[in-house]
C-alpha cells in the first residue's frame, strides 16, 4: 500500500508537467471560437467587419448609372477604442477590401495605390483628406478625370466600457461594446454619403 502512495506523487507531478506543454490543433469548420478574457479577438472583429461592411455594401447599392461602376478607394481605419488592434488591423483591412471588391457594384482601387498616393501628396492623417485642396491633390494623383475615385471608404473603431467592482463573494465585471463604423465619403465634396456600423458586446469577469 505504501508503495502505491510512493508512486502516486511522481505520477501526479508528471501529469501536471504534461498539462503545461504547448499543443496545437486544427479547428473544425463551425467549431466554437475562443472568446478573449481580457480583450476582443477574432470573434469580435469578424463580427464587426461582417456586419459593417455588408451593411455598407447593401446601403450603397445605388442604382446602375450610365458612367459605369463607382470607383472606391478604401483608405483605412482609425483606431479610437480602448484596445490596440495589434495583428487584427491588417486582417480587418484585407477583409473589408475583399468584401468591397467581391460584393458591391464597385471598382475598388488598390489600397497600395491609395497609400502611395497619400504619401505622394504628403498627407499624414486621414483627416487631412477633408480639406478640399488635399482631396483634389489626392484624387489628382490617383488618376485623371474618369479614373479618380468617386467614393472614399473610411472606418473608425470605438469601444464603450461599463465596469462593476465585485464584492467579497462576487467577481469584478466589465462590459465592453466594440464597434466598427464605416463611412462612404464623396471624393469630390467630402460629404458623407452613407455611414453604417457593426457592434458586439463582451462581458469580462475577473
Amino acid at each position: 500500500m505504501k508503495k502505491i502512495h510512493v508512486l502516486f506523487v511522481p505520477l501526479a507531478l508528471a501529469a501536471v508537467v504534461a498539462a503545461c506543454g504547448s499543443t496545437g490543433r486544427v479547428k473544425a469548420e463551425g467549431e466554437d471560437q475562443l472568446v478573449g478574457d481580457k480583450r476582443a479577438g477574432n470573434l469580435t472583429y469578424d463580427e464587426l467587419v461582417q456586419q459593417s461592411t455588408t451593411k455598407l455594401v447593401q446601403q450603397a447599392s445605388m442604382q446602375a448609372r450610365a458612367q459605369g461602376p463607382y470607383k472606391v478607394a478604401f483608405f483605412g481605419i482609425e483606431t479610437k477604442g480602448a484596445e490596440e488592434l495589434r495583428d487584427q488591423l491588417p486582417a480587418i483591412y484585407e477583409q473589408i477590401e475583399e468584401i468591397l471588391v467581391n460584393s458591391g457594384p464597385f471598382v475598388v482601387l488598390s489600397r497600395k495605390a491609395v497609400d502611395r498616393a497619400r504619401q505622394e501628396v504628403g498627407l499624414r492623417d486621414f483627416s487631412d483628406l477633408f480639406i478640399a485642396k488635399n482631396r483634389d491633390a489626392f484624387t489628382g494623383v490617383m488618376g485623371r478625370d474618369s479614373e479618380s475615385p468617386d467614393v472614399l471608404v473610411y472606418g473608425t473603431t470605438t469601444t464603450q466600457t461599463t465596469e462593476s467592482e465585485g464584492g467579497w463573494f462576487s467577481r469584478d465585471t466589465k462590459e465592453r461594446r466594440y464597434s466598427l463604423s464605416l463611412e462612404m465619403i464623396d471624393a469630390h465634396t467630402g460629404t458623407i454619403l452613407s455611414k453604417v456600423s457593426g457592434k458586439q458586446e463582451i462581458e469580462y469577469k475577473k
Binding site: 506523487v9 466554437d32 472568446v35 470573434l43 442604382q63 478625370d145 469630390h188
Partner: protein, 471 residues
C-alpha cells in the same frame, strides 16, 4: 529510525494520507476548471461570414459589362437641328469649320477634348455635307490641318473667347464650337449630368449665329455608351495624354503669315497698275524696342526736319539747297552736314550690330516677297534704296520714322527720283501686352496715305519675338 525514514521525500509522502492526496488533486482540478480561482476559457459560436469571392467563383466566369442593346445617341437630334440651322443662316456661309466640343470638368484642371466631343463635331460636318451644304465643311481633322497652316496651337481653341479671337485665322465664315460641361449630383447623389452645347460663331458678324444644347443624365443607362465616349480622351487636343506631335506655332511661321495677311490687305487697297514706279518696303520699324534705333531715328528725324526746312526755303527762293553751316542733332551742334552724317553713320553701325536690325530687315524682305506676289505682274517691290543718295536716305529714314513722309516734299521727291512710286512702312507696335505689326502705304505721287493694315502677333509668340529683338 529506519533507513527509509531518512529519505526526506519519502518522509513527506508518508506524512499524507491517500485521502489528503486525492483531496488536493480534486481541489487543484476544480480551481483550474471552475470560476472560483480564475477564469475558464469560454467559447462562442463562430461568426458566419459570407465568402463573397467564393460566391463569385461559384457563379461562373465573370461577365464583362457590355453595352448591350438599346443604346441611344443623345446628340443625333440636336446635331440634325443644329446643322439645319447653320444651313439656313443668313448670310449663307461659304465655309464652316467644326471644332471639337471641349469638356469642362471640375475633376480636371483644364479643359480637354473627349471622344464624344470629336464625334459630335464630326457628326455636324457630316450632317452639313449630307444635307447638301454647298460650301466647304471642315471636320475636326480638316480644322486641325488648317490650324497648323494658320500657325495656331490646337489648345488655343478651347474656350469661346479664344475661338472668337482666332477664328478669322481659320479662314472660315462660320466656326462651330461646343462645350460639354459635367455637373455632379444633379437632383440625386448619384446622378451626374453632361450638358452639351453647340455654337456657331459667325466670323465676319462677330456673333453667335445659332446654338443648341442638350443634356445626358447618368441615371439613364441607355446613355452608357455616350458616357463612355464622354469620359475617354481624344488625341485631338495638342496637350492630351497621347502627347501627339503637333505643329507648334513658331515666330518664323507667324511672321510669314503676318506678311501674307498684310500684303493681302494692302493689295486690296492699292491698285498696282496705278503705281508710278516700284514699291519700296522699308525695314520694320522697331524703334520703340531698340534704344540704338531710337537714337538713330531721333537724329535722322532732326536731320530730315532741317533738310526739309532748308529745301522748302530754297524752293521758295528758287535757289539751290544750302548744305553749309552748322546743324544741331539731339542737342549737339555739328559744324557741317558731313559731320552730322558721320555721326548718324556711327549710330547706324551701332544699330546694324543689333539682332533687332537683322530681324527688321528679314521681316521686310518677307513682306516684300508677299507684296511682289500680290502685285504681279507689276511686281516691283524692292527692299533697298540703291538709287537714292546717302543724304536723301537719311532724310527718308528720318521722315519715315516720324510719319512725315506724306508731307515732306523733299523726301518724296528723293524717292521718286530713285524710281519709287509707293512706300510701304511696317512698324512694330506694342499695346499693353499685345504686339502688332502695322503697315502704312504712302503714295508718292500725291503724298497721301494709300492704305494701311495691322495684324496682331499671337501672344504665345511674344517671348520668342522679344528674344528676336534682343531684349
Amino acid at each position: 529510525m529506519t533507513p527509509s525514514t531518512n529519505r526526506p521525500f519519502r518522509r513527506i509522502a508518508m506524512s499524507f494520507s491517500p485521502t489528503a492526496f486525492a483531496s488536493i488533486g480534486l481541489f487543484l482540478l476544480a480551481a483550474c476548471q471552475t470560476e472560483v480561482f480564475g477564469g475558464k476559457d469560454t467559447y462562442s459560436s463562430r461568426v458566419e461570414t459570407t465568402d463573397y469571392a467564393q460566391e463569385k467563383i461559384d457563379a461562373g466566369p465573370r461577365k464583362i459589362d457590355v453595352w448591350g442593346p438599346g443604346q441611344k445617341d443623345p446628340a443625333a437630334e440636336p446635331v440634325a437641328r443644329f446643322s439645319d440651322a447653320v444651313m439656313h443662316l443668313n448670310p449663307k456661309p461659304a465655309s464652316v469649320a467644326v471644332l471639337p466640343l471641349v469638356t469642362y470638368d471640375l475633376r480636371t484642371n483644364k479643359p480637354w477634348v473627349s471622344e464624344m466631343g470629336v464625334g459630335t463635331a464630326d457628326a455636324v460636318a457630316r450632317a452639313l455635307k449630307e444635307q447638301g451644304f454647298a460650301g466647304q465643311a471642315f471636320d475636326t481633322a480638316d480644322a486641325g490641318v488648317r490650324l497648323a497652316e494658320a500657325n495656331i496651337a490646337r489648345s488655343s481653341f478651347l474656350t469661346l473667347e479664344q475661338v472668337a479671337a482666332n477664328a478669322h485665322r481659320l479662314g472660315a465664315d462660320v466656326v462651330v464650337f461646343g462645350t460639354i460641361k459635367r455637373r455632379d449630383r444633379v437632383g440625386a447623389l448619384d446622378r451626374d449630368v453632361l450638358t452639351c452645347e453647340l455654337q456657331a460663331y459667325d466670323v465676319p458678324g462677330r456673333r453667335i449665329a445659332t446654338s443648341t444644347r442638350w443634356e445626358i443624365p447618368s441615371d439613364d443607362t441607355s446613355y452608357r455608351q455616350a458616357w463612355d465616349l464622354a469620359q475617354a480622351e481624344n488625341a485631338w487636343a495638342g496637350d492630351s495624354r497621347y502627347a501627339m506631335p503637333s505643329g507648334s506655332p513658331g515666330l518664323a511661321a507667324e511672321l510669314q503669315r503676318l506678311s501674307d495677311d498684310l500684303a493681302s490687305a494692302l493689295a486690296s487697297k492699292i491698285d498696282p497698275a496705278k503705281i508710278e514706279g516700284s514699291i519700296y518696303v522699308a525695314p520694320l520699324d522697331v524703334a520703340a524696342f531698340v534704344p540704338q534705333l531710337a537714337t538713330l531715328r531721333s537724329a535722322q528725324g532732326a536731320y530730315a526736319s532741317e533738310i526739309s526746312r532748308r529745301a522748302d526755303e530754297a524752293r521758295a527762293n528758287n535757289e539751290h539747297l544750302d548744305s553749309s553751316g552748322t546743324i544741331v542733332l539731339d542737342g549737339t551742334e555739328y559744324p557741317s552736314f558731313q559731320a552730322a552724317e558721320a555721326h548718324m553713320t556711327k549710330l547706324g553701325t551701332a544699330y546694324q550690330a543689333t539682332p533687332a536690325a537683322r530681324f527688321a530687315q528679314s521681316f521686310s524682305s518677307g513682306l516684300a516677297d508677299a507684296l511682289r506676289a500680290r502685285t504681279a505682274p507689276a511686281g516691283r517691290a524692292v527692299n533697298d534704296l540703291a538709287a537714292v543718295g546717302p543724304v536723301d536716305r537719311a532724310l527718308i529714314d528720318g521722315e519715315l520714322s516720324q510719319g512725315g513722309l506724306a508731307k515732306s516734299f523733299a523726301a518724296r521727291d528723293a524717292l521718286r527720283a530713285g524710281g519709287v512710286g509707293l512706300v510701304v512702312a511696317p512698324r512694330l507696335e506694342r499695346i499693353g501686352d499685345t504686339y502688332q505689326i502695322r503697315v502704312d502705304a504712302y503714295e508718292l505721287a500725291n503724298g497721301s496715305l494709300a492704305g494701311g493694315a495691322a495684324a496682331p502677333i499671337a501672344p504665345a509668340l511674344v517671348t520668342e519675338l522679344e528674344r528676336a529683338l534682343g531684349r
